[in-house]
Symmetry: C2
Subunit: 349 residues, 2 copies
DNA sequence: CAGATGAATGACAGCGCTAACATGATATTG
DNA sequence: CAATATCATGTTAGCGCTGTCATTCATCTG
């Protein structure tokens, strides 16, 4: 049994202790005061190099692990960032989370995350739950938020970054993202420019950002005098590949003359492409398919997918960087960061 | 400004306070002692219902958020579980993480995660980092672990679940997963049974579990007297769809007579299928393709993918359940849970 | 060499909460 | 009705760490 391998040297802790090695256990072994060990850990240059070495040895021998709860209490800083996203099982958000994670690692911050599953009610709950950890900063998804959530975030009095979108709604503190409306419009523009006229849209989940993409898309169709209703098919069911095929099938059943389809996201687009393959519909000759996000497989699928690349990882890392800068007292260039998007034209449209 | 909307009633905190509302602020407003407010929160049935209502009102008015660091220090329980996975950006692990998350939510545990990026060195670092948060329990990936990591985990003296695999190596405390060796063997068995004879394997990343899948696969090939070397192509590059196409192309360049390929995971299999489509190779007539994990798109792709379904979500939720049970003092049936796998035969092989 | 300076270490209190025990009020019992 | 049990609330101390100020001792300066 490795635990407490120096147990005989340890202080007799009160009954409430779990018997873990503490700072003063280390101090006792070395023969210095606790504060000196604390300094050796947090401000190494403030303690004599030789002493420091002895302290480090003792820490290693005793397998001492600092107690962050105690440290947090003493410093009123938890060194954690809270992240509120719709769901971790959507590649979009796991990419964002990776950006956040990579940025915080190396800055000695921990990441606490929670899923809202696209519900503003859940969001209130998880915000309350996360704030109870007193994170030093918080990242939430989207600009649509309940008054209660907003009030909680404000009274937490910590820096906040709302991610994924800019240019719509009120920003509480800071924000990083891009314009979903413009992205949708930009895809419509492209498809129109390619000569398509019976242009459709299929969407699942239809959260606020999907809706804005759709509105941007439709606005351009309208501006060109194209049909803005009959080629649109959406559902609030969560998005997946299979659903893309089903939506395409449903749309074709009612509107067989549709000649181009913008899919809410790449997953749906994959499903749509697979369905076209089964129906021996030639893409893009008979029907064009476009997606959104430029996921991993989009460049490899046949035909390769025309889509919009969104800076998911960068949104995460920038949001975390904004928080960390703010927490370190460094001023940020701007409170709102528009990272844009990029139309990637490939073979499918 | 919403913060401290009842600031005038608040105690004059010492200079070290951040001016947040505390338990005793609430107590003062209600006119009771701090411990009573604490009980109202943690043991509501122990305080008079009328008083409880007044306390709850005060909490709401003051926007009081409990300080978990202080609570942790007092109770030596953090109500957090730590999770060590290779990378969040692999769908496999985001599914696992979702299972963990869903299980912990509702049991009032927070989840802290860290990525090792498939490096045992990194793993040591992140384990140390996570243990500094004194989680109540910890989940790590795989049974291959350094002595130092093991020693840290042991001296933390908290329940541990090693996930993803069983039946190989030493389990430190508990484990949940399935046998990768058997899964690989099972796929070989199936392909042999289907009449394929020049059976290959392509793999990326080639972490310990991938290696065991490959060894299980090869062992069956050997048992049937089939070639176990020339149709094998692996790389340690991280896996993605595009790479699947490249590996297939490389393998075909050297061994054009390969008639079936087991891909390390579904991503590679997608890439391989796409490459076959571009080469107009008919699947499964000219070449059979099989995958691993049964991701979302596998049922929809053309041809639909024969693969092995792995209980990713269940591994996560079971691991979290094991920890929570242990922490609540409830005995677990078994320290090791083999959740098995399922061969899903579809059109590609 | 008195006085000033700086480097290294220590003493003490307090961060916000809760475990453990103490107290007082009310209900219950033979 | 005294003895006892029960319920509701309070007092005290301490969880492990660090901010702040104090102390010690070596070094430097004119």
């Amino acid at each position: 049994m490795i635990r407490n391998n120096a147990g005989d040297k340890l202080s007799k802790n009160g009954s409430r202790s779990k018997g873990r090695v503490t700072l003063s256990d280390v101090a006792k072994v070395v023969g210095v005061s606790a504060i000196t060990v604390s300094r050796a850990l947090n401000d190494p240059e403030k303690v004599n190099p030789k002493l420091r070495v002895r302290i480090e040895q003792a820490i290693c021998e005793l397998n001492y692990v600092p107690n962050r709860a105690a440290r947090s209490l003493a410093t009123s800083s938890t060194q954690t960032l809270a992240v509120v996203i719709p769901t971790i099982s959507n590649t979009v958000f796991s990419n964002v989370l990776k950006g956040i994670y990579d940025q915080t690692t190396g800055h000695n911050y921990e990441v606490l995350f929670a899923n809202t599953y696209y519900s503003l009610q859940n969001e209130e709950k998880v915000i309350a739950k996360l704030l109870a950890q007193h994170p030093d900063g918080i990242i939430t998804t989207g600009l649509d938020i309940t008054e209660r959530s907003k009030s909680m975030l404000l009274s937490a009095n910590i820096p906040l970054v709302q991610i994924m979108e800019v240019g719509t709604g009120e920003v509480i503190d800071m924000s990083v993202g891009f314009s979903h409306f413009d992205a949708g419009a930009s895809m419509a523009q492209y498809l129109i420019g390619q000569g398509y006229r019976n242009i459709g849209f299929i969407g699942a989940q239809m959260d606020f950002r999907s809706q804005r993409r759709m509105r941007g898309f439709i606005s351009k169709l309208a501006a060109s005098g194209l049909e803005t209703d009959k080629y649109i098919l959406t559902t609030t069911t969560p998005s997946d590949v299979k659903l893309g095929g089903q939506l395409l099938a449903d749309l074709l059943a009612n509107q067989p003359d549709v000649d181009a389809i913008f899919c809410n996201n790449d997953d749906l687009a994959y499903g749509a492409i697979f369905e076209c393959q089964r129906r021996k519909l030639r893409i893009p000759e008979q029907i064009a398919i476009a997606g959104f996000n430029d996921l991993d497989a989009s460049a490899s699928i046949n035909p390769s997918l025309t889509t919009i690349r969104t800076p998911l990882y960068e949104i995460g890392s920038s949001a975390a960087a904004l928080l960390i800068n703010t927490l370190k007292g460094r001023p940020n260039m701007s409170k709102t960061l528009d990272l844009g998007f990029e139309l990637i034209t490939r073979d499918s449209a």
